[in-house]
Symmetry: C2
Subunit: 309 residues, 2 copies
């Protein structure tokens, strides 16, 4: 019998559990682009925004590739292609690090991968990847959640030793539904009430209904943060790293501006998925990679990439 240090959806009570695992593992073991103050900020806040990772030309190339990939997916019947709840606009395409030449190259981008290694303190692999498109006027809200809560309960991720990397490919303003994060929330695990039904993922990708943190816990996290919520606003090309347990969400987007990003979840090679920490059966491979795991070898993505040491 495994001990579950992060129990959730096991009773009717919500609970705030102090995180005992480190945020940054083996600090200093790996070289990479993040300096000491970057690492400090990530450790304290649970996220880090970087503005100078990619050149404007590189951002243009990524945005063009994303657009093309979305267009090619229109009308495609596949589990990895997710549409808006109402309508058939493509919202997300999963598994792009395996199924798409360009994005598989981007998934091993040396700047990104080296940063992920600095944060996780080990070799890393991709646990999940996707590109997201949130259309203007009708992009739906995404309620507060910790990714780790889902990955732990539904996918059997043992520890919060994963980091999400969002490469933001449209300008993000306060008015077009940017990601919102509660600083410091990664230090607390919100054990959510309720139980996980079979195949929850089929609807949870469109609208989250389970693993929902209670208002009381969210209010406590907000107050611990000094009543602050950070919004990931910035120019296209911004890279956001956020810790697997950081509480985040986003409002709907009624503005005319769409939002798009490429999204990679790096997991520590020492934190590979086990049996789910619940009675549910495993989610599909495109949501939770288990097959053929091997460490990523960092590579330049673009012809003349900036030197990232």
């Amino acid at each position: 019998m495994r001990t579950d240090f992060y129990p959730s959806r096991v009773g009717s009570e919500a609970k705030l559990i102090k995180r005992e695992d480190p945020v940054i593992h083996n600090r200093g073991k790996f070289d990479g682009p993040l300096n000491a103050s970057d690492l400090d900020a990530y450790e304290e806040n649970g996220f880090l925004m970087l503005n100078d990772v990619f050149s404007e030309d590189e951002v243009d190339i990524m945005a063009e590739q994303l657009k093309r990939t979305l267009e090619n997916a229109k009308g495609e019947k596949s589990d990895t292609v997710v549409t808006e709840p109402e309508g058939d606009e493509v919202r997300s395409i999963f598994e792009v690090h395996k199924n798409n030449d360009f994005f598989s190259k981007l998934a091993s981008n040396e700047h990104i991968v080296k940063a992920a290694r600095q944060l996780l303190g080990s070799d890393v692999y991709i646990n999940q990847s996707r590109i997201n498109f949130k259309p203007g006027f009708s992009g739906k809200e995404f309620y507060w959640h910790s990714d780790f809560e889902t990955w732990h309960v539904e996918d059997g991720m043992p520890k919060p030793r994963a980091v999400s990397c969002s490469i933001i490919l449209t300008d993000n303003y306060e008015y077009n539904g940017p990601l919102m994060l509660i600083p410091g929330s990664h230090n607390w695990f919100v054990s959510c009430p309720g139980e996980t039904p079979e195949n929850n993922y089929e609807q949870s990708l469109q609208k989250q209904e389970l693993g929902i943190p209670d208002k009381e816990s969210l209010t406590q996290l907000f107050e611990k943060a000094g009543k602050r919520i950070e919004t990931a606003t910035g120019k296209a090309g911004m890279v956001l790293f956020f810790e697997s347990n950081t509480m985040h969400g986003s409002a709907g987007n009624i503005s005319p501006l769409p939002r798009s990003n490429a999204f990679f979840v790096f997991n520590s090679i020492q934190n590979q998925l086990e049996e789910p920490f619940s009675n549910a059966s495993k989610r599909p491979e495109f949501l939770a990679n288990r097959e053929g795991i091997k460490p990523i070898d960092p590579q330049p993505t673009f012809e003349k990439e900036k030197v990232t040491t």
Copy 2:
């Protein structure tokens, strides 16, 4: 047969119609708290935010009165009390300038009323009033709309010669669903496709389904604004005046912070309601005042009000 200079919901085509009516009427005719640059900004943008109208003590009094009024309305069955679409939390209470001692006094606040007279260039009266409470975590979005479009089509307001005054009683951050406005949009009337059914107001107060501007027109307004959307963020006590035809909306509020405000629509005494510019029957008095109209005599609301000349 009246000529309708602002036709809407009369066909299937959306259309952008240039506003021919002035924004500020009879500039200089009335004394008041707004200076020349305030008036210029309102004329250009279609809205104006003022931060020093009320003292902190006065803001506290207003917030307390709002809270008390909402609590007293709980469970009350009345057309003027509107709850959230899902749940029974009170979202708005209408007609507070008639039914509530404090808010009727606030509705004739000398600073506010004199400003309204400066903008409308005539004596003014209240066309509609309400207090709004948008709860934390679950405040729903309000899609883009021009109030004048509704007031014209459904209430028979002849011209865009009205101004909404929102006294914002909670701190408004970018993350708790502040009002968003498109600068300069008051200079264009978006003629919306579709027709108005009977008793549209009963659902439109909860979720707007008709008189919805089309995406193409919204995009044009956004582009004319230099691709800008302004958010009404600021400290509690901020006063926002916005022109009846200014395009505005708000995202949902998933943050723990509620939002509340007192809301008064001042109409020019020379712009009183006629027959609706549609086949629909008139909306009720609490949405569109027609009875016993007389000019407001500006009065101090609080004991030691700041002198507003």
